[in-house]
Symmetry: C2
DNA sequence: AGATGCTCTGAAAACGTTTCCATGGCTCAT
DNA sequence: ATGAGCCATGGAAACGTTTTCAGAGCATCT
């Protein structure tokens, strides 16, 4: 068996309380005594038992992160940001991946992290009111990333502002008729991205004294084939748009596909701007809005650590800025 | 404060030992008593204190995974495989990312997971003999994935054989001048992938009586832009290669980028074969070596769980096969 | 009828820490 | 010189479980 604090105490000729004091860097211990104890600790290779410490301090030194779709780049980047912050703290990171609604329900019902972690980071998953309640009842500090719930602290990106930038960029290129293709505006799970981005789209048009025209709005599904279909619909209008802003890159890919099918080229014949800046966007040359994914993770982790260390528990909302990455799909000015 | 086992016992009118027996599904408890206890547990919402349980059982129900470069698709896929297995077990997953040699040294010196986890999964990181020794001294079951050390159980893929297959494929298409672009051959962290794949490359050439020419070898960094640069260098040779084998897909993407820049097309003008079979490879039509990344993770996790549950501790070596996925980037036979 | 053995149960010990409290020695001001 | 106060220290309680041990109740066998 491993050595215990008693072994150290006996060998150093002190009481266990003194060893504990040395371990916890209490000021009230004679330098000479401290040195003796440290020497024995080193000699024995003693390591404090974590469970025992946890039992009495009621602190686990671990935080859990719950995220969906561990495989998608967005979440990876967020995870990376979180990890980079947590690695430099005294905390360890326990990871829970949620890929199915059943898993999700199971996690939030059983709260398997309860008592195993000091804090919680929830990425992207919207929470239902009873779940929020249960979480708060458990009195577990939690920070939401890329999602909001109740009055829990959140780190989000400025979807409205991002969409605004995207559309303003198109306007600056001389476009007057700008289509908007998005997924569901009121999805079951309560995501508000599409609605927010539409608001940014409308705000940009209005700010530049352009009309918001219903015929240019295409809200459907968050799938590439919807982008495809919506693009065809827009092209078939009597007065088709000269540019399309897609609420996410995947939709934009569908749009570009549709253009190609008609013998048109994104950038040359019709400007396209996406949102997300997926890896593929760079390869395809899609102008898009880049989200500071890693930074979101970092910020979320920092907020949580602050809450844990300083007891800062006031609900806060951190909105991170996004920026436009200009690529070939929107480089040419409008001919109109 | 949360309820304890005592509260449950008192309320159910039994001793704490009986509650514990119910909790641990001991057979020797009257169905009637069990029901009463369970009712109280449910009513109070009692949850056993984890630390206390850990203290007495000396079991943490957690396993740690140590991996480098959390951001790279390869490791993500492995992580995903691991997670999928661990999520269905009673274990939780603690994650340690190692990006720098200093971090690595620190981790393996302090073994911060000691006493916090029941087992260890080490991905890709090669271990030095003293580190192996320290690990074994700690008596912590460990499984290596994509790396080998001492006589610890390992799950690896056949990198030499995979590279051999890739190059042989190009040779079968009639290519004689085949470039090789890779990352560092002797990287800080001690990976051997690039070296192994180069060995496979050379072996294939030699087996088919083709010369290994230094001018066609480009070892640099494990980054896409290096693939880009290396491709340009190869194209600028007096006698450029007609095919390039990239040590990983990311490098291959860089190569394809470079070709496009020159107005060339992978597959038509120059054959390209990658390694990894990332999701993007399919989209882009890159011929590549498919590594069962997720499967590696799964297998590694399974081996570890088996070791933990059944005490299977014999050193084993699982070598997973790789196979070539032929796509557009290498479909045309060499014109030469 | 008594011994034996089985099933269910509770008291208490044990796990390895932190922390509270008491104590003894020392310094310092009076 | 003596009491007040501070510092370093050790003993012991406490944290919330699991597990050991002993015992009570009861059926079965001789």
């Amino acid at each position: 068996m491993a050595y215990t604090i008693k072994d150290v105490a006996k060998r150093a000729g002190v009481g266990i309380a003194t060893v504990s004091r040395v371990l916890n860097e209490s000021p009230n211990v004679l330098p000479e005594t401290r040195a003796r104890v440290l020497a024995v600790i080193d000699e024995l290779g003693y390591r404090p038992n974590h469970a025992a410490r946890q039992l009495v301090t009621a602190k686990t030194n671990a935080i859990a992160i719950i995220l969906p779709f561990l495989t998608r780049p967005f979440f990876i980047e967020v995870l990376r940001g979180i990890e980079s912050v947590v690695a430099n703290s005294e905390y360890q990171l326990i990871i829970f991946n949620v890929d199915s609604p059943e898993q999700r329900t199971r996690y939030f019902n059983t709260l398997p992290f309860l008592g195993r972690t000091d804090g919680l980071l929830i990425v992207s998953l919207p929470l239902a009111p009873p779940e929020i309640k249960r979480l708060q009842a458990a009195n577990l500090p939690a920070v939401m990333i890329d999602t909001q719930a109740g009055n829990l602290p959140s780190v989000v990106v400025d979807n409205v502002g991002g969409a605004f930038k995207a559309v303003e960029h198109l306007i600056s290129k001389g476009h007057q008729r700008i289509g908007f293709v998005s997924g569901q505006l009121e999805p079951d799970l309560g995501f508000t991205v599409n609605r927010d981005r539409q608001r940014g789209y409308e705000a940009a048009l209005t700010a530049h004294h352009l009309p918001v025209q219903a015929k240019y709005l295409r809200a459907g599904f968050d799938r590439r084939d919807w982008g495809h279909q919506a693009a065809l619909e827009l092209l078939d209008l009597a007065e088709p748009p000269s540019a399309i802003f897609a609420a996410n890159d995947d939709l934009a890919f569908g749009i570009i596909d549709a253009l190609r099918e008609r013998g048109l080229k994104a950038g040359d014949d019709l400007a396209v701007v996406g949102y997300d800046d997926l890896e593929m966007a760079q390869l395809i040359g899609l102008t898009t809005i880049h989200q500071p994914m890693e930074q979101m993770g970092r910020k979320g982790a920092e907020v949580l650590l602050a809450a844990l260390n300083e007891g800062t528990r006031r609900p806060t909302l951190h909105t991170l800025p996004v920026n436009l990455i200009e690529r070939a799909s929107s480089v040419k000015p409008s001919k109109a």
